[in-house]
Symmetry: C2
Amino acid sequence: MITILTGGTGGAKFVQGMVKVVDPREVTVIVNTGDDLRWWGLHVSPDVDSVMYALGGQLSQERGWGVEGDTFECLARMKQFGADAWFQLGDRDLATHLRRTELLRNGATLSEATADIAASFGIQSRILPMSDERVETRIVSDSRELSFQEYFVRERWQPPVQGVYFCSADNATPAPGVIDAIEGASAVFVAPSNPITSIGPILAVPGIREALQRTVASVVAISPIIGERAVSGPAAELMKSAGLAVSCEGVAQAFQDFLDVLVIDDADLQRSAEVEALGVQARVAPTMMNSDSEKLALARAAMAAAQPRQPKGAL
Amino acid sequence: MITILTGGTGGAKFVQGMVKVVDPREVTVIVNTGDDLRWWGLHVSPDVDSVMYALGGQLSQERGWGVEGDTFECLARMKQFGADAWFQLGDRDLATHLRRTELLRNGATLSEATADIAASFGIQSRILPMSDERVETRIVSDSRELSFQEYFVRERWQPPVQGVYFCSADNATPAPGVIDAIEGASAVFVAPSNPITSIGPILAVPGIREALQRTVASVVAISPIIGERAVSGPAAELMKSAGLAVSCEGVAQAFQDFLDVLVIDDADLQRSAEVEALGVQARVAPTMMNSDSEKLALARAAMAAAQPRQPKGAL
């Protein structure tokens, strides 16, 4: 059994590769829900959706989000109505949110609703939201505060960021199965997702970080930073705002208390020593995932990096 | 100013013709909402939608409901999820329900939400739901009870009908403007809609029937029955269950207490005397509306039938 902690974009690609090298039924994916939003009255869970679409073989390759080949007829009408339309929902995608919202309204938890929809997509891996409770990633920018999607989509991650916090995280509990999946796995992987706003919310749920420190499984992360730049999205700006170096070393810092191995890009070979100075083993591999074969190769490198754990407490 | 009471299918066609012979800004349409339903968590108002789509020039001619040229991508996914899918919502149509539901959630009344959406469609006539409160048409069939859409769409109006009632009608009030539109009109038209489940719910809202009796406007109905058959839908079965003759005479009976003139089909010329024996004047015209020119001709015939009222109280 292996467990993967992930956000949407890069993480969803990583998960696609992993289920090609491990029996999908042996994989549990713990997904960030700090980006979730109420949109047109529906519960949208962007990272859960990306992972479901990725595992269901229907993630749009071109867009990196939503359903391949989706249409946008409903969205066009919503614009005509003067409704908010900066967050784009395709017509097929919309069904996911309608279904989830209805299941939640009928009393299902987010875990249960996710399992129901994932089963409809024929997904064999287990997808767990980090928590069934609402935890909201908030971006502090100058004198205002933005939700993650307001910051990321509406404002195209242009506003300066002074800080990030996770509203209601202190009172949240991990979704059923999350702690067991971390403690009972033979290896835990932290996908190459934004450490602050994709992995950060997961770690902010009380009990999850402790489980990662405690587990006997090897914990392997893949750096979403190559050189001093993020592969995609605002990870660099957000790491800077959190006082982290924008480099694979910064990623190692962010996860230092529970991380055994960090897979860094070939281009960062010379940074291995800095990572290892933090007590985290460095493994070098090509980390870009522009094709199925690259996803497969990275998954293999990640699996190879997982090895029986040195108790962290002994460091 | 003229006012039209209507349901969806036939009534929507009639309204289309009327706004070609009267300035659309002079037209108020009072619409049945007894068929409204909660579907996928959204507030769907089928007759209001048909009237809006008809007046917005986007009603599907082929289907008689929904938006011309609409796609059904979301519906196909909902089927895949195992969600109820017997009531079909197109992708563009869906935006109407998402928007309405959001406006209602934000505190708008159904009248306000309708006005908002109708304005987005560039509709110049005023569309009023019969009531802002929930009135639900219930069909009694053997040992069970069905909502109108369950009876009409899901069961294709096959179940035997013992009776129809309008749940919560007694406590409902006419939507703002409804009574004034009836009392202040120069003519009131009852569209060729099902007298029991399209016009019936409107008449069940306390105050509306009384306003029709009281108004100085001429009240003109168009018979939805030709010979002994309904032009479309279950009007015949429903009239029978209500103890009415299935004929234009039965339509005159249903509205006898407030109706001045009934426009009956050419084919029913020989039934004029039966209608007039009920104290309702009969006018004969072609009532089928299979083309724009037929809609226009019927609208002209209806307008010609409207004339200064003989006080009903004097009958």
